[in-house]
Symmetry: C2
Subunit: 162 residues, 2 copies
DNA sequence: CCACCTTTGTTGACATGTCAAGCAGATCGT
DNA sequence: ACGATCTGCTTGACATGTCAACAAAGGTGG
């Protein structure tokens, strides 16, 4: 086993900071979302994905791919949201197996209302704490990391993992 | 309801990038950890927290506070890790109610081994993709956000939430 | 047209997280 | 010293996520 290259103090600081930020930020955003709109993060992501899709409808598989969820997870989650009256399943015209997800009226109302609160929450606990340089740096960092991981985790599994 | 201040394009880019990075990075780190060491993120955090504690022992509540977990979650998780032989519960000398968590020999071996792989994984998918400026910026950003959220989510509930 | 394999979703069993109730030892006021 | 309350942890019921098995429709080659 090769001796690992441990992180430098600055790197350690950045990594631990990222981890802690991630934990606290998620917790707060989740809380606000639940308190303001009665939605979980997952609910919000589903509603917002479907609402932004052309025609306000999405195949289950596409929804799963866009959110990087397993199809099974989407199916379970959509079933629960269906029972709460936020979304509905609709048969797909061009493919008998397919199911498309659409928002109900209540779903549209919910996401429009939730978005307002959500953006305020994101601003208060994240965006508005950062200056223009921070925002630019964060965008740059995310691009690098997402670019790398999109290759590694590519849908076409040439070779995967590390 | 006040008209929300929507995010500027740069802010939206940063926010979406952060969310996507967070999702992909977590997924990859989790995968590597499972493949290399047979541990979940949660397992790793518990082992590393306890191993770094003075005397290699931690009260359940302290472990929970340090990781921002509920006590109940720690209790459940420790029970499962106990069954796998990674940690053990030990009675607390000074408080009859207390339970302290300690690593077993297997637990020590596991964390020492896992740390090596883990740091390599973190480097490959995150740290080594970033230059010194990025690292500095990330540390700075995390400090701001964590500083803010530590107040909002303070253990002493003066006032909470948004 | 039909056997066969692929694609798309659904389902059930199980792992993990959350919440509220419960229990036993510690602490406090008298 | 003793009852009331508090604290630290455990437990059970339930919500959510994962994995693998299954079902049904689509596509393909004979």
């Amino acid at each position: 086993m090769p001796e690992p290259r441990w992180l430098t103090p600055a790197q350690m600081h950045a990594w631990r900071g990222y981890r802690r930020m991630r934990a606290l930020l998620d917790l707060q955003i989740t809380r606000d979302l639940a308190a303001d709109s009665g939605l979980s993060d997952a609910d919000y992501d589903v509603l917002s994905s479907v609402s932004e899709a052309p025609g306000g409808r999405l195949r289950l598989g596409e929804l799963a791919a866009g959110m990087r969820w397993s199809v099974s997870r989407v199916s379970h989650h959509v079933s629960r949201m269906e029972q709460r009256g936020l979304v509905a399943r609709d048969d797909c015209a061009s493919d008998g197996r397919g199911a498309t997800v659409v928002l109900t009226d209540a779903g549209w109302r919910t996401i429009r209302d939730a978005a307002t609160h959500h953006v305020a929450s994101v601003r208060e606990h994240f965006i508005d704490l950062l200056d223009a340089d921070d925002i630019a740096a964060l965008g740059r960092i995310a691009e690098k990391v997402v670019g790398h991981l999109s290759e590694v985790t590519a849908p076409t599994p040439a070779r995967r993992g590390r």
